[in-house]
Symmetry: C2
Subunit: 343 residues, 2 copies
DNA sequence: AACTTTTATGAAAACGTTTTCATGTTTGCT
DNA sequence: AGCAAACATGAAAACGTTTTCATAAAAGTT
């Protein structure tokens, strides 16, 4: 009841007044402080509910230096994997009373730096980032870290250990599984269209790929290994190079699904029969890989699980006061090969 | 220089001190108040830049009742059209110093209501929403509107006029163009897989479709018109119904691309030749429509333009103080038919 | 019973802005 | 020259919390 004027939210003072208590006690009760009587706490909670009280985050934030806001930087929200992860993070944070500011770096290092700066200035309580493929220098995150602001990297993570928590896919194993699978279904001459080695993703997938090749005693043709930005156009160029040579591959592992799709299209246009003449494995289980014909074998990265893990870590870091953390940093998330018609 | 302690941002007071002015003047200079000398304003701006001053949004917001934050509710950020629109809005708002909180209703009315409630409680300065397909009751937006908070709907918009700005695609024309195109390329027996009539989108696309049919004097078979949630599964069920009858259609217009893709897949499996036996037109120009084979004719909605328009309106509404607005409300954005191999 | 410690609460300051009111200074007008 | 209007600035209050300090009551200890 109290203050039900139009466009007027009621405050902690309204609760205090209704209960004949001081605002201080209300604040403590609401925030679960230890030194507040059980009975009082219940009364406060009840009255708060009755009055439809909602904490004013700006007032609270101003005083306590908390924004109740988490920043997120991803290359592009339209990428299937990230869209899924974001959804889970968003929902998870909402449950805990946090807002999420989603920013896109568009895979530009400059933009990433600028966004980090903006989010720092916005005083976010934590930052989640999946870096640019070309981010090798991570100093722009230092200000946050020095400040004590938790930083969590996922998927595209720094190569060296900053003070941040790192959640990454099992890219080595992904590369290994992709190559092993191609070999097991009969490929002997395997090409690899990979991304720039500035990113942990492609370093590890490449390493896994090479490990499998070595283990099965297959030769690695240097000319069949590409490290380039994983665009459809680049994939097509790589395919042209591969197939205008006298010796052509019988299997291709691409480090993302867009490239796999481009490779498949090139193959179809060139009159190659997939999977008979050429087998293809992609990466990420983009929905497109299941609708294209033939459907493409790919590596599932379980974005939902990654998102859940990010939230879990985030909440732990946000709640904790001191420096004590039980989180062990490089957290590796499992992946899985999904076999389809392209192999 | 002033206050360069670790983790200490400097405030309006630091500028005031450095310039021997009062904080009030600094605030006015920073906010472009009329009654501040040109020289002073320049000094302030210069000093602010020098000190790397960034406004504390929480303090500012607390006092002025502005959060510098805009809320956005969309069904799903992974939908191509929305992902594009969001990107544009996000970037546009950043340029003007606003943050964007992106929320997903997942096409659930309940969730949409809850999110509206949360964003209201978060005191967003404005709300942008693309509604659920099943939102017929818009009372949950009333609190914002009564409050004087600008509300902008785009794409999926309310049927009746609330006090909000509405930015919609030219769905009637889209439906009309799709049907006309099918007729012009030779179809005579055309089916329409449409969405629930609770949404403006499908009402208008259906109306456009019917208009074209009538204009060309083609009969409309009631059993060939489906109003259902536009999922691949539903599309497949519709296709089964259509093709296990003795008279089968020679053209299909689906109200989104997922359904078009599902329809195409069914057709391929059923041994139908697309486009010879059956022509298909989708809606939205989802990237998948261009990679599938045969590629699918669809309606381009120019998400970038829609996003730009949203930002334009948003900024105008956020800047304006009084009630004077030059915005005429139902803004209709153009669409375009993109012809591909499926017709 | 006389203490210390713990528990529960209140008073008041603080967070960094914006804004109202007041006041002094300039400019414009007759 | 005298007065009104416009301009430029400052002092101080206000926004709604959280938090420090103080204090009173209850519980524990010898």
């Amino acid at each position: 009841m109290a203050n039900e004027k139009k466009g007027q939210q009621n405050t902690i003072l309204d609760i205090a007044e209704a209960l004949k208590l001081s605002p201080a006690t209300i604040s403590r009760a609401l925030n679960g402080h230890p030194h507040v009587k059980e009975q009082t706490k219940n009364d406060v909670l009840e009255m708060a509910a009755k009055l439809g009280y909602r904490r004013n985050n700006m007032a609270s934030g101003l005083r306590s230096n908390k924004t109740h806001t988490v920043g997120l930087i991803v290359p592009r929200i339209s990428m299937f994997f990230h869209a899924e992860v974001i959804t889970v993070i968003q929902n998870g944070l909402h449950k805990h009373g946090y807002n999420l500011i989603i920013c896109q770096s568009n895979d530009s290092v400059l933009m990433e730096k600028e966004l980090t700066e903006i989010l720092y200035a916005s005083r976010v309580d934590a930052l989640v980032a999946s870096c640019t493929l070309f981010t090798t220098d991570f100093v722009h995150f230092d200000r946050l870290l020095e400040n004590g602001t938790p930083v969590i990297f996922y998927d595209r993570v720094p190569l060296k250990d900053l003070g941040a928590v790192v959640i990454k896919g099992d890219d080595f194993r992904g590369g290994y599984m992709a190559a092993s699978h191609l070999i097991e279904v009969g490929c002997r001459k395997i090409a690899h269209i990979s991304g720039p080695l500035t990113s942990n993703l492609y370093q590890n997938r490449s390493a896994g790929f090479l490990k499998a090749m070595e283990q099965y005693g297959l030769p690695v043709n240097e000319n069949w290994i590409f490290h380039q930005e994983l665009t459809p156009v680049n994939a097509r160029i790589a395919m042209e190079k591969l197939f205008q040579s006298d010796e052509v591959p019988d299997g291709i592992f691409t480090d993302n699904d867009s490239s796999a799709i481009a490779a498949l299209e090139y193959a179809k246009e060139a009159g190659l029969n997939v999977p008979a003449d050429l087998k293809i494995v992609g990466y990420s289980n983009d929905p497109r890989t299941s609708i294209i014909s033939p459907s493409i074998t790919t590596i599932e990265q379980f974005p939902t699980e990654v998102g859940k893990k990010v939230v879990e870590v985030l909440i732990e870091l946000l709640k904790k006061t001191g420096a004590s953390t039980t989180i062990v940093s490089p957290i590796t998330m499992p992946i899985e090969l999904i076999r389809r018609m392209s192999t």
